[in-house]
Amino acid sequence: MTIESAIALAPAERAVNLIGADLTEKSLKLHLEGLPGVDAVGLEQRAAALGTRSIKTTSKAWALDTIVKLIDLTTLEGADTPGKVRSLAAKAVLPDASDASTPQVAAVCVYGDMVPYAAEALGSSWSNGSDNGINVAAVATAFPSGRSSLPIKIMDTKEAVANGADEIDMVIDRGAFLSGKYGVVFDQIVAVKEACRRENGTYAHLKVILETGELNTYDNVRRASWLAILAGGDFIKTSTGKVAPAATLPVTLLMLEVVRDWHLLTGEKIGVKPAGGIRSSKDAIKYLVTVAETVGEEWLQPHLFRFGASSLLNDVLMQRQKLTTGHYSGPDYVTID
């Protein structure tokens, strides 16, 4: 090993507890590479089997409402305007104007500069750091590529938190991860977590985006998930939505297995957020089944599971309308954003 590998890493409580106080690049590498392997064929078979569950009638009604409650309603475009963000916030508060029984979504997810508009537009529905209401989530750390220096990533995060972001969706440095520099990735997550600290000492929730579409193997996804948890992530998230493939059922299943194992080991509950590519209620229900049968139903709550999605909400609303009225209406009967 090089001398570099003996450099101690930033202390993160979970990693120190599990691996030891003398946390080094080398001890981290040994730990991550010692995790049991993943058999790709078997994992995909299991995911496919979970996808064949048939969710009908009352179960379906419950599932549709739950999906709405778990959505991070997202707009992450260069062309985003304050107007679009306000419209999104209004939809988050009242997803279906024709049916007041529709629950509210979990959060709106925007770029950092849009946080003030989102918070303002949510008005009294904004959670503002409390447990009630709709959160504002901001992507940060040079989203989506993560290609900038650590100080800039920290600034990016601090600014979003100062603007009122309740949750930070950060990206990991995939280049560093793939070249085996787990310590770099670890240190960055620890630093960003610290940047999530508000003046009053509380923390904005940190979701760590692994960008599984760039990690290529399931073994990598398992290591990256474990790494993100060790470094202090509150949530592990599949993708930015800017890289294909984004969230897939096998990848999400694997991340849920990591979360389940972490819970068995420490009693601590970590959240999972598949993002990108989940567009239909049918697909989203497969994810609910996978969560319930892997980590348990308890995870089907906004503080432990989210969908990062934009078009999914409208499909769920149409399905809800179908369940209530008995017939399909069509995309013109739900608002576009």
């Binding site: 049991p36 048939s54 009908k56």
Partner: protein, 503 residues
């Protein structure tokens, strides 16, 4: 929490109690009574008709004709006539056309066949829908392709069909076993008299309708229903050239004795007590799934089921804990519900045997654990059960239970795993779980079993030969090897050519 809140939360059903999602039986147009299928027509049997019931409800589904030895004579005669006059005279390409047609009709009527199979056998609809019926179609497609390529079956040029094949199949995969038997027999140019198991004749009756639909020449396939007597009459019939049997080792042994010296060609696919070996470097989550699939697939009514779990001792506790957690999520109940994982035990007799052997397991000192799942009131049910602290001499580690019962044993070294895995009178299948490719290959090389799965279990493909060592039988089914059971090389019958002194 107030009393009212408590009442409310008690009322909220768990998401995991998925609402019922039964597959509709409206696709099924069953007759009240099914006759024997002889010479292209349904005819009544001479024996006393019997009823076939749904093992999940114990309700009668239909009454079925019983073939006595006179009926078997008629069926064999029909098969002989069809062999002499039509089937052996058709070109391979033309035989292939019929098989392709059957395969497509199976696909067209897949839902109907799946519902019938689950109703009659008790297996969950997700298995009959996603495994049994698709494999049935795949088997006919595969052997349809072989029909005009028999020169490449490895038996030299122009191999010859045998004549009339007598086939007796079990109740665990009624339609799939029928396909395994009929498809290669017909592709090779033989005609068939087949006897489905007495508890599961229903899908074979629908298959007979498919044969009529496909316009298969009369007498090429004849289906005689009945119990052991019918099977006995069939395999001992003097005019059959080939006997193929899948079922218990006891019956297989009797068949081997009775056909000895008759010149009938025989393949036997019998019992098993497969070892599923989990090394400490296994992909753990997938290994757990594989163990579950290995022994709880089809309620464990699988001859190649991974019924002996051999776990490396340093991961034993972890594997058992994870396995119990996973088994607790299995859903037992109505076979026709799309969310059912474990269906009904096929018959009262089988349930009694599973209970008896499980009780013996407990009496012999093994530790029994049974998943906590509600048992329906009617029908035959056995909740997923695992035994730990099982010794190699224990009867549940030696005898085939043929039910959802897993025996867990440990090993320390690869050599011990191999020795324990091979220490059985059977040798049908085995499984190996390890992320290390070289270990998988080295261990597989030393296991005496016909099928070895690495990092998976209970996967079937028509291109892959299947069959056993020792008391698991002889002959291979599936793949090119499966054709050899229904053909003989052209040179076989004419040794005179080589005797003549010509080089």
């Amino acid at each position: 929490m107030t009393e009212n809140d408590k009442a409310l939360s008690a009322k909220v059903p768990s998401f995991l109690d998925y609402a019922p999602a039964p597959e509709s039986t409206s696709v099924l147009h069953l007759k009240k009574h099914y006759g024997l299928f002889i010479d292209g027509e349904f005819v009544d049997g001479r024996g006393d008709a019997f009823s076939t019931i749904s093992p999940a409800t114990e309700k009668e589904i239909a009454s079925i004709s019983n073939a006595n030895s006179a009926d078997v004579d008629v069926a064999v005669a029909a098969a002989r006539k069809a062999y002499d006059r039509t089937w052996s005279k058709l070109s391979g390409a033309d035989r292939g056309k019929y098989l392709f047609r059957i395969a497509r009709l199976v696909q067209e009527r897949a839902r109907e066949l799946a519902v019938a199979e689950s109703l009659d056998n008790g297996k969950p609809i997700k298995e009959s829908r996603d495994v049994d019926v698709p494999l049935v179609a795949a088997w006919f497609f595969y052997y349809a392709g072989w029909a005009d390529k028999l020169d490449y079956a490895g038996l030299g040029p122009n191999p010859q069909s045998l004549g009339v094949a007598a086939q007796v199949i079990p109740w665990n995969f009624p339609l799939l076993m029928l396909a395994w038997k009929i498809a290669p027999a017909l592709a090779a140019g033989n005609t068939v008299v087949i006897k489905p198991a007495e508890t599961t004749p229903l899908s074979a009756m629908i298959f007979a309708e498919i044969l009529q639909q496909a316009d298969l020449p009369k007498g090429v396939v004849n289906i005689v229903t009945g119990a052991g007597d019918t099977g006995h009459a069939l395999v001992n019939h003097p005019d059959v050239n080939k006997v193929a049997f899948t079922g218990s080792t006891g019956v297989g042994r009797a068949i081997a004795k009775s056909v000895a010296g008759t010149g009938k060609k025989v393949t036997l696919e019998l019992g098993g007590k497969a070892a599923n070996i989990v090394f400490d470097d296994a992909p753990m989550d997938q290994a757990i799934e594989g163990i579950v699939n290995g022994i709880f697939f089809n309620q464990g009514h699988v001859c190649c089921a991974g019924s002996r779990l051999l776990v490396q001792e340093n991961v034993h506790d972890e594997v058992v804990d994870r396995l119990k957690a996973r088994l607790s999520t299995l859903r037992m109940g109505d076979p026709l519900d799309k969310n059912t994982d474990i269906g009904a035990i096929n018959s009262k007799a089988q349930l009694d045997r599973i209970r008896e052997l499980s009780d013996i397991g407990e009496a012999e000192g093994s530790e029994r654990w049974t998943a906590d799942c509600p048992i329906p009131e009617n029908g035959f049910w056995f909740a997923p059960t695992i035994f730990t602290n099982v010794s190699t001499s224990s009867r549940i580690a030696r005898e085939e239970v043929f039910g959802p019962v897993l025996s867990v044993l440990t090993f320390r070294t690869p050599a011990e795993a191999i020795a324990k895995a091979n220490n059985t009178p059977y040798g049908l299948s085995a499984g190996i779980w390890s992320e290390k490719g070289s270990r998988v290959l080295a261990v597989a090389d030393k296991l005496r079993a016909g099928v070895i799965w690495a990092n998976t279990f209970n996967r079937f493909d028509p291109a892959s030969p299947f069959g056993g060592y020792k008391e698991s039988g002889y002959g291979r089914e599936g793949g090119r090897h499966g054709l050899a059971s229904y053909l003989e090389s052209a040179g076989w019958a004419a040794p005179a050519v080589t005797k003549g002194g010509k080089k």
